[in-house]
């Protein structure tokens, strides 16, 4: 049995589980069956995908099912790129199932989650498997709808209902754009099979248009600015393991769609189109992380941070496009590898962080950072794993986030050799944006961990929190371990990505696993190298020496006492720094420009013992400026058109006649 039929069977099994979950029996057993079954199926799918990558030079495996358009059928295919993304999606899926085994028990309305969860997993797999435009779009919509149903799981909350509405509108808009892209790709002949599209010639203008449509269509699903507005609403609204899947896996499926259309189907887009991708990516990265820093809702903060990481990935893709257009295959392979590696890493640590947020939510029923604190004492395991996730997403060596960020910087350092002046001017700026967003991400996750897990509890719920169940901690432990492992052995991951870059660009990074000590050397030893394993070992070694020497030869005694705080300790936990006060300096530095943030302090007059007030006002310029105006324009047009509903019969008849005349004129011309 070839791998594509294996995966199609897995998808069928997932859809079967979905149907099973509709059964009116509501017991613990159904819950365990659904998540357990989905876990097993995801693991099998993961195994099949990994096997496809691991078998060097594995042939693409294809299948045609007699579904969909009668003259076309439904084509499915696994190549190196699809196998990589299938591995990412099914790894995140398996972790989500494991986490769901424990977390899902606290679900208020399980019948609103259980049927859609396996369907969502199956939908994501199908998008990656699809090999013709019709099935691709169909599966894409199926995935969107399944995730929409999961976003609406707690639909009585008006915020969630609004999130679901915005999500649905944006998803429809995105699919429309993809539809246009595929329409242009398949040309007047209308051959929707990817194989036919791949060999067809595309002119310069249609190619640029297709790239634009793909950027908007896939970008709206991935969360590119300014199409990101639905993401921070919808991702946190779903149950946490679904949030993790949406942020960790579904945005990756969108990125897969972009890569499939632009790198595979389109052939060679003109060089200047890469500038659009780079600029959108850089702006997305910087704006996403700044927004994340301003949040006090833990899950919404993570959703904004997803936007940042998607921006980072698109920067890598833009660089790869630029290098490819100038026939610098090795550099394009480096940039694409960096982007794909970051795809994998982000799936790992963002899932981990959402699980941590879910654990906090289970334990305290709070998402508001201002009501958390001190959880490291009450939830030690969750705290440790969340810390690993925070360090990984902040790109700290020797964890995995740093390895992909490092590769991306190495790719940027190759770009002065590009001949185009436009790229020469903007690429250093993109590098600065990436460095800025990495530094701000570190600030953001210091805030997340520091406010939620450190300090003193800010509410009774945080004081009485309990550690979560074993399934949840196991899922977090596995992902944290994977973050560390990929961080110290990045060469392994790079070698597994190489077949995908080879098939897309015809070039690959040099094999890394043959290097001594598992260091990664993108181009040559003399230019740059990094060894996560040795950095990790050195730090562990020096820290142990220091601990041993000091405890053995100096002092190892500890006395506990009240906190010092310059002698001003105030017992109320309200005197601690809060999430808002933590981000205040950064808000002052960047926020006045980006958010039009205004601060106002009202002091009571002397002698008055009333409280002082500090008001902060900030605006989301994209929502207000862009979407507000669009909504206003639509409302205005609807108001005008409303007039048409109250006409006399004569006017209606003349309108119909006029329409007929115009249509005939159009046909005649």
């Amino acid at each position: 049995m070839n791998s594509v039929s294996m995966l199609l069977l897995c998808v069928a099994a997932l859809l079967g589980l979905s149907v099973l979950a509709v059964a009116p029996v509501r017991t613990r057993a159904v819950h365990t069956l659904i998540y357990g079954g989905a876990l097993a199926v995801s693991l099998i799918a993961l195994g099949a995908a990994v096997a496809h990558i691991a078998i060097d030079g594995a042939a693409d495996s294809t299948a045609v099912l007699p579904l969909g358009l009668p003259w076309l059928g439904a084509h499915f295919r696994i190549d190196a790129l699809a196998a990589f993304f299938l591995a990412v999606v099914n790894l995140a899926g398996a972790a989500a199932c494991l986490y769901g085994l424990g977390y899902g028990r606290h679900e208020e309305a399980p019948h609103r989650v259980l049927p859609f969860f396996p369907a969502f997993l199956g939908g994501m797999n199908l998008v990656i498997l699809a090999d013709d435009a019709f099935s691709f779009l169909l599966c894409w919509e199926f995935m969107s709808l399944a995730s929409w149903a999961l976003v609406m799981a707690q639909h009585r909350n008006p915020e969630n209902a609004r999130a679901g509405y915005v999500y649905l509108v944006m998803a429809c808009f995105g699919t429309l754009m993809l539809l246009l892209a595929f329409g242009l790709l398949s040309g007047p002949a209308g051959d929707y099979g990817f194989a036919a599209i791949r060999v067809a010639e595309h002119g310069a203008l249609p190619a640029a248009l297709v790239l634009g449509f793909a950027l908007i269509g896939a970008g709206s699903k991935a969360g590119l600015v300014p199409l990101h507005v639905w993401l921070p609403l919808a991702h946190p609204a779903a149950p946490s393991h679904v949030s993790a899947l949406m942020s960790g896996a579904m945005t990756k499926v969108a990125i897969y769609g972009f890569i499939r259309i632009v790198f595979d189907l389109l052939g060679d887009p003109p060089w200047w189109s890469s500038m659009a991708v780079l600029i959108v990516g850089g702006v997305t990265a910087a704006l996403g992380v700044l927004q994340a820093l301003m949040q006090r809702d833990l899950k919404r903060m993570l959703a904004y941070s997803t936007i940042e990481n998607v921006g980072v990935i698109f920067c890598g893709l833009g660089l790869a496009l630029a290098f490819q257009a100038s026939n610098m295959g090795w550099a394009a392979a480096l940039a694409l590898t960096a982007a794909l590696f970051h795809v994998f890493n982000h799936a790992l640590f963002k899932s981990l962080l959402f699980y941590g947020a879910g654990a906090v939510l289970t334990a305290t029923h709070e998402r508001d950072l201002e009501r958390l604190g001190g959880l490291i004492h009450r939830m030690p395991a969750t705290a440790l794993f969340f810390l690993v996730g925070c360090a990984a997403i902040s790109a700290l060596p020797p964890l995995n986030g740093f390895a992909s960020e490092w590769l991306l910087f190495q790719a940027i350092l190759q770009s002065p050799e590009l001949p185009q002046w436009g790229l020469k001017i903007i690429v250093p700026g993109i590098g600065a944006m990436l460095a800025l967003s990495a530094a701000l991400a570190a600030a953001c996750f210091v805030k997340a961990f520091g406010i939620a897990f450190l300090g003193r509890p800010r509410s009774a719920a945080a004081t009485n929190a309990q550690e979560v169940d074993r399934f949840s901690t196991a899922a977090m432990a596995i992902l944290a371990a994977l973050c560390v492992l990929t961080g110290i052995m990045p060469g392994l991951a790079i070698d597994w990505i190489s077949p995908a870059t080879l098939s897309l660009l015809g070039d690959r990074m040099p094999a890394q696993t043959i290097d001594p000590w598992l260091s990664i050397v993108p181009i040559a030893q003399g230019r740059s190298s990094y060894n996560g394993l040795l950095v990790f070992l050195f730090i562990a070694f020096s820290a142990s020496i220091a601990v041993f020497a000091i405890h053995r030869f100096a002092s190892n005694r500890i006395r506990r006492g009240p906190a010092w705080d310059c002698g001003f300790v105030e017992p109320s936990p309200a005197t601690q720094y809060s999430a808002d006060s933590f981000s205040q300096p950064i808000r002052r530095v960047f926020g006045t420009l980006v958010f039009r943030a205004r601060e106002q302090v009202e002091m009571p007059p002397p002698g008055d013992s009333g409280p002082a007030r500090h008001l902060v006002e900030q605006r989301d310029l994209i929502w207000d400026g862009l979407y507000g105006n669009i909504a206003g324009a639509i409302g205005f047009a609807a108001d005008r058109l409303n007039y048409l509903q109250f006409l006399t019969i004569r006017r209606y008849l003349s309108l119909v006649f006029l329409a007929l005349v115009i249509l005939l004129l159009v046909l005649a011309i």
């Binding site: 790109a395 490092w406 250093p428 230019r527 220091a546 005197t575 720094y577 933590f582 530095v589």
Partner: protein, 318 residues
């Protein structure tokens, strides 16, 4: 046999930076005191302070977590590893390819990440204020540093520090505008990263302006000793980095023989002394700035770094 020799050299470098770091701090303090016409403590005072702190009990706040106790060792180890990978007296040491300049910058980023977390652990307002300001400064200083790294890497065609230092001591470098910009930006970043005047004042306590000292306010005993020595190591790291890249003369190349190493070590000591003197001179000549002026200062560094990189993107010879 050569392997053992290489390992010994690498070990010597690790010991050298560890032993010299408090001396550099003491030397800077002494020079500053003399410039202010005070006598100042002896240059070996930091060693005495460290020994005294190491022998004392740790007084731990009641709600301090395990993280609070682990972080001092972690940041000491990370800074030490970073400092050991910078070329001090010789280039091309056996582990010099383990981490390039970007990785070392990121390593210092991890130090800051964990130190900021330590500041927030006990849940006091001073710790929070320090952590919040530290990440604000870092959010501009780190991109500036990355831009400096880009400039250097584009000039030398490598992010490896040994290659970089080797290239900078070769005649191929010449006088370049971009390197001048990078040097100024690097010095500004180094001042901010080491919490020196005008960004922060290492000698202050109990003031609302402090950043670094506010984060470590709850530490005592051996934990404080670890943090102090990590701070000294960081100062040494930046001085060595500037010296190794911009004043690379006298650096021994790998396999150069004992004489070359001795010359390299002597040159290194001279460079450290000069760097420490200049730092003290600069610090006495300038006043500390308001904390919200710091982003402008760091923004200038970022712009200089960006300009340097941009010049190199436009022409490799600038």
């Amino acid at each position: 046999m050569t392997l053992i020799g290489d390992l010994i050299l690498q070990g010597a470098q690790m010991l050298l930076v560890l032993l010299l770091a408090p001396l550099l701090t003491g030397f800077v303090r002494k020079v500053k005191a003399r410039l202010l016409r005070r006598r100042g403590p002896p240059v070996i005072q930091p060693y005495r302070d460290l020994l005294r702190l190491l022998r004392k009990d740790v007084v731990l706040a009641e709600n301090a977590s395990w993280l609070f106790r682990v972080i001092p060792y972690l940041i000491f180890a990370a800074t030490w590893v970073g400092a050991a990978l910078i070329p001090t007296f010789a280039t091309g040491l056996i582990f010099s390819w383990t981490a390039d300049l970007i990785a070392i910058v990121a390593l210092l980023g991890s130090v800051r990440f964990f130190l900021a977390l330590a500041g927030m652990d006990v849940g006091t307002s001073f710790g929070g204020i320090g952590a919040s300001r530290e990440v604000m400064i870092a959010s501009v200083a780190e991109p500036a540093m990355i831009m400096v790294v880009f400039t250097l890497a584009l000039v030398a065609g490598s992010t490896q520090l040994s290659e970089l230092a080797g290239f900078m001591s070769s005649p191929a470098v010449g006088l370049r505008v971009s390197l001048g910009l990078a040097l100024i930006a690097l010095i500004m970043v180094a001042i901010a990263e080491n919490a020196r005047i005008p960004v922060d004042n290492p000698a202050t306590h109990l003031e609302l302006t402090m950043v670094h000292e506010a984060m470590v306010l709850e530490y005592s005993g051996r934990h404080l000793a670890m943090i102090e020595i990590a701070a000294s190591l960081k100062l040494l790291l930046y001085v060595s980095l500037i010296a190794g890249v911009f004043v690379p003369w006298g650096l021994a190349v790998s396999g150069g023989g004992p004489a070359a190493y001795a010359i390299g070590a002597a040159a290194y000591l001279v460079k450290l002394a000069a760097g420490g003197f200049l730092l003290a001179l600069f610090e006495t000549a300038i006043a500390k700035m308001r904390v919200f002026r710091v982003p402008e200062f760091m923004g200038a560094a970022l712009m200089l770094g960006l300009l340097g990189a941009l010049l190199l993107f436009v022409s490799r010879s600038l």
